[in-house]
Amino acid sequence: MDARRTLRHRAAIVGVGETAYYKRGQSPDLEFVLALKAILAACADAGVSPHDIDGFSSYADDRNDAVRLATALGVKELRFASMQWGGGGGGCAGAIANATAAIASGQAECVVVFRALSQGQVRYGQGGAALGYSTQAAPEITGEMAFPVPYGAISPAQRFALKARRFMHDHGVHQEALRAISLAAYAHAQKNPRAIMYGKPLDTAKYDSSRWIAEPFHLFDSCMENDGAAAVVLVAAERAREFAQAPAYLLAAAAGSDHRHAAPSHSAPDYATANYKSVSRRLFAMGGVSPADVNVVQAYENFTGGVAMALMEHGLFAPEEINSVLTVENLTAPFGCLPLNTSGGHLAECYMHGMNLVIEAARQIRGQSCNQVPVVDVALMISGPMVAPVSSLLLGSEATR
């Protein structure tokens, strides 16, 4: 492989910022205002003037247009604007990859990657435009969604339950493994004042007695629905030490999809996967590290079943180890062997479509997490299990240079 054709150590996250996080529909600010506030916070963290941003990168069809942002912020010279394809949260790390590629190829110097969401304005993943039909009178449905919707498989919970059930069947996964992912996230949120579920602990009995949404998913296996915004600032790695915070260097980023993973009507040849088999191979090859080198993991939770698949597909354990590795003790910082979603993640901090997980990965590298793992040189962030395309990110400390 041509050594120049890599993103490794070409850029670093030097600023992170988020708004307050809200339950769905409770933000006092419009979505565009949330986006602006998160970007200002990330710039302040880095010690960068917002006038000096010259690129924007986002994903999931974010509605906050890069040119409007650049205009509103008085950006002196806009050089780069990019949107990662794909309607779900699978594009988050891909948007970081695009920003890094722009920096590495000389197209931009200072790129913001962001996500903003105010579901009081448009609810994500539910009915309406997200499904390609109107929820008003005489709804009709065409295309791919015509296959599941007439059978009551409408929102992501029902459709992903089919995939998770088959995965559990194939590998003998116990419900307790999914429960551990949820309990660990809630435990971490109890030490994170930003978390929606701060002060609202979850225990085994409460999980077990919670209502089913769609088997095998209980209420606490599902992400929340939230309003807020989050952003990070990236610059070239060789400039990264000029800024206020310790850099989180990009070791690798990869995006994509396995062969015909998105074949309609759940007809993927390799069905019961979260779609990371090719992405994780390329991720670790670029990063020059192995899964055993990963010190902490932030894994996008739409549903816990997708997290279990994603962790396995990133080589963090073998299929036969799922039930023994996925325990609350192992997944909880600071001393678990696989600290997972240390801010509380999408289950208990905020469902910010992965961007809060990128921020938490950077905070772990800096040593600033509310649930800090003692030594973090390599942090893994995984975007959007079970959708297509998906993406993943490896961040590294100064020690990896």
């Binding site: 015509a146 007439p150 089919l162 059930r165 069947h169 949404i213």
Partner: protein, 147 residues
């Protein structure tokens, strides 16, 4: 027992005017299940598309196949994703892999009680469910346990 698994009110599947799935939906109305197969390389293909993903021929035939298969996965839905389903829960959604070819799968409901257990691997047979009074009329393919 009702003649349809759900009462009216869910979105009506309407084939795109020129969509690749139109022969599938037209077939269900006629009590036939049709799946795409490439005329050149004989590969089965699902979901429907304008091109064969194997050999890139545009000559795709619609072959009538037996509506028989095995449960590949399933879920029991307890929280209604639409208000119209509020009284329908719990209900069982099955993913059925057809006997005719691997990786040809259809979503449907398992007819009968919503509290019955489904089993991955169990044999099922298709039951055509006609919504003749709908505008426009359409048909679904449901599933019942088979021997």
């Amino acid at each position: 027992m009702n003649s349809t698994y759900f009462s009216d009110g869910l979105p009506t599947p309407v084939p795109d005017k020129q969509g690749p799935a139109t022969p599938f939906w037209q077939g269900l109305v006629l009590n036939t299940l049709r799946i795409q197969r490439c005329r050149r390389c004989q590969s089965w293909q699902w979901g429907p598309e304008y091109i064969c993903s194997n050999c890139h021929s545009f000559e795709l035939d619609w072959i009538e196949v037996e509506p028989k298969g095995r449960i590949y996965s399933w879920t029991r839905v307890w929280q209604a994703p639409q208000p119209v389903l509020a009284t329908a829960t719990p209900y069982v959604v099955v993913l059925v892999e057809l006997d005719v070819a691997p990786n040809v799968r259809l979503i449907g409901n398992l007819l009968g009680s919503g509290t019955q257990d489904a089993q991955v691997g169990a044999a099922v047979a298709g039951v055509f469910e006609h919504h003749a009074a709908s505008h426009p009329p359409y048909s679904l393919l449901q599933w019942r346990p088979a021997d």
